[in-house]
């Protein structure tokens, strides 16, 4: 089982993902954005950062990297793809996930630990019990998710909403609990099949307890178990 972590120019969380997966005892290696061969990887991670400086729009340029064509193919074959923060933004720009990202409502960059409710979903990357509340840091300037009404309805109907911003007790504040203004408090979504997953929070930051917690561990362990079962 090997994670492949893509480095785009301007990515800056790639070594964090490598460090977190190694901490959990998993194999993981970098993939250069110019590469066109990603065979030999069982799961692909698009890490956080500011690919191409976030210029024009977040993820707008990275989406055209040679490696992305391969990632699309990999996902179509059912391969698991995880997009964290900028990785999530790239997935929406690449139309591998619906919707788009706007500037945070307050127009400020936000770095802080937030409460997230794990929803009942088709996502292959999490099997944390639906309804449980976890703490993971967010760290972004453009995490304000939007999509049209039909898309939102579909996301909810198909169990594609994986994570929502909530209050400490799991409830939703009147007017919403998203610190960034995100539509319907959405923090993470997956495709219908559940193999492509994008989230704004940074699970890799809370894997090794010395950096503040362990709530991020399931986001890497679950997929490993799943793939192991499939392999039988």
């Amino acid at each position: 089982m090997r994670f492949g972590v893509v480095i785009f120019p301007g990515s800056n969380c790639e070594q964090d993902v490598i460090r977190a997966t190694h901490y959990l005892g998993f194999e993981s290696e970098y993939i250069w954005h110019g590469d066109t061969d990603i065979s030999g990887f069982d799961a692909i991670v698009l890490p956080g950062g500011f690919s191409y400086g976030d210029y024009i729009r977040t993820g707008a340029v990275a989406r055209f990297s040679p490696v992305m064509a391969e990632v699309v193919r990999f996902a179509e074959k059912g391969g698991p793809v995880l997009g964290i923060c900028n990785g999530f933004q790239i997935l929406t720009e690449a139309h591998m996930l619906p919707g788009a990202m706007l500037r945070n409502r307050g127009l400020k960059f936000i770095c802080k630990t937030v409460n997230l409710r794990v929803e009942e979903s088709a996502c292959q990357w999490v099997d944390t019990q639906a309804g449980s509340v976890i703490q993971i840091p967010i760290n972004h300037n453009e995490g304000n998710f939007v999509c049209d009404a039909e898309t939102l309805a579909a996301l909810n109907a198909n169990g594609q909403v994986v994570l929502r911003y909530v209050e400490a007790d799991g409830s939703t504040a009147p007017g919403g609990s998203a610190p960034n203004g995100s539509l319907d408090d959405i923090a993470g979504i997956c495709n219908e099949r559940g193999n492509v997953f994008g989230l704004m929070p940074h699970p890799e930051r809370v894997v090794d307890p010395i950096t503040g917690g362990t709530d991020g561990q399931p986001f890497f362990t679950t997929i490993v178990q799943r793939l192991a079962e499939v392999a039988g």
């Binding site: 301007g10 800056n12 976030d54 936000i110 010395i210």
Partner: protein, 753 residues
Amino acid sequence: MITIEPLAEDLAPKLAVELGLKPDEYEKVVEILGRRPTITELYMYSLMWSEHCSYKHSRKALRMFPTSGPHVLQGPGENAGVIGVGDGWAVAFKMESHNHPSAIEPYQGAATGVGGIIRDIFTMGARPIASLNSLRFGTLDKPRQRYLFEGAVAGIGGYGNCLGVPTVGGEVYFEEAYEGNCLINAMSLGVMREDEIIRAVAAGPGNLVLLIGSTTGRDGIGGASVLASQEFDERAEDKRPAVQVGDPFEEKLLIEACLELLGQELLVGLGDLGAAGLTSSASEMASRGGVGLDIDVLKIPAREDEMKAFEFMVSESQERMLAVVEPGNLEAAQAICTKWGLRSTVIGTVTDTERFVVREGDEIVADMPASTLAHDAPIYDPAMTRPAYLDEVQAFDPLTLALPTEPADLGATLLRLLASPNICSRRWIWEQYDHQVILNTVVLPGSDAAVLRIGDEGRGIAVSSDCNGRYCYLDPYVGAQIALAEASRNVACAGGTPAAITDCLNFGNPEKPEVFWTFYESIRGLADACKEWGIPVISGNVSFYNESFGSPIYPTPTVGLVGVMDDVTKHATASFKDAGDVVFLIGESLEELGGSEYLKVAHGMVAGRPPALDLGLEGDVQGSVREAIGAGIIKSAHDCSEGGIAVSLAESCIAGRIGADVHLHDGLHPTASLFGETQSRIVATVADTDAEQFVTILLEHDVPYGVIGTVGGDSLKICERLDVSVEKLAGAFEPTLERLVAGEFASEELREG
């Protein structure tokens, strides 16, 4: 061979003065060249001999600093200092000011300040792992000040976040004295293996000079001399073109490419282009290597048309690096730059002439002994006189004021102090900074010092930046020592052992005897304390001419201290933990209200003598707490600084969301007891089962201490003097900054003042 074209006899001296050279400095240039300078030469000398680049007023005083010690691998003189932190790991760090550009355009000024200090770090071969920022503004009731504050914070975050270098700490004060001249001091740290240290040296005649990174435009022309070396006043308007726009994406690519080039040993030397641009980095690299350089400006990728030779040489376009490469390695080196999407251009060669020759095609536009630019600037012995205001302010005795004694008044005063912009929570700032990326941050902002792990074998460092300008205004010698004392006390509270410091010395016009006296006294105080505690100064920066409309800022010698930790898991934070924990006060309280936040908030005064500092006691107090943290028995440690012990206790309650019940048997006036800012005090808690062991440690270190109470309940009770719920304390402490800037973001004289 085309003969060089000096400036006309009548024009040269005039232009020299316009560019900031003093008449005798101009004469020295003529003497060195043996002729009148060309326009390019004149620009190059005027910038290299400006205060900002030559330290001509401060150099002598700086010699007072101790610069060597067991940890020091590289002292002052390079782009950054370097210390060893164990297991072969080395940490490079430095602090630098970007005050004047930020006062014109806060976002870009602060952003490019961060960019500049980070280039200094990876130029040494270190990977940048953290930044801190030390900020000073006027009071936030002024729209212009809110604009500067919001812009600077956004710029620091905007640049550092994009690079993926966490901003893990800093400090900020709001004082009238900084209203016309904000301070933006940025500190950066990088990590490498001890054997990977690189020095910015050009060597090997025949080697190639490679310019890497962004194109060169007219932006920031004359930035160094014009902005940083003249008094900053209403004329600032005309200097607007000197503002530069930063490109953090380009800088991120530079970090990766340069570290890869160094890792593969493809470079002979590497230097960054900062103040005075190509002139500065090229001449410094040449003089360090005792070689000459031959550069053709027409080879430099230009951002604009018809740029003059001198514009290429002094442009401060950001995100550029200068490398020296052996011809045989050129192809490999450029391949790496291309891989990272970076421009790289050979613009000249290293020669054995020791002369710096600049060509524009086949015309020679400058030809001077390379070392004279970096090393022959005149060195001054500025006159000094003790400022007249000192006797007056120091004579004031705060105890002559009507001071509150009633619990209700004392409680209200505590809440006012907690809500004061100089004490309140800085959360609003650090939540705009990525303070976690690279996964080394063990103690996040909000405690005393930031703690970072180094490598995966459990080593770490603790970092803090501090300076109370008010103390330095009331007594520069003691004030500067307190800056160091507080930085190392913060580090001690986290469990670190001070290893070395960097500094950023922000002062007014050094040509004013009273200003220079405060500068000299600050350095003398800092140097004496450094020697007493064995803490060397390994890098730093001097920023003079921080004045506007004629009055200097408070003397502000900011200290950035790095402490080492052999076991990073053995650290402490400021928050109270569990009910029943025993509260200790280490150190003793004196009747000291001079220069306190209480005096400012309650009486609108900045007067009196700053708290006294006993260097021996301070060292012992820190040592005892450090040892107890190492022994693993400390559950919380927080020092007493602005606002005194009452604020310190309140901050620990708020951070832990739990109360405490304490008694102070100090026999002082209640106000002095609660809010006096006596130094060398730390509030620490331990589980009651560990109290005995802690006492043993305190006795061994022979420090005064008191067992003052226990953690628990939902309010802070201090004797019969005050009783306030943690809820209320937090309500005063937390929202202040957000409130002061919220919605006000756009307001009348936004950019005017």
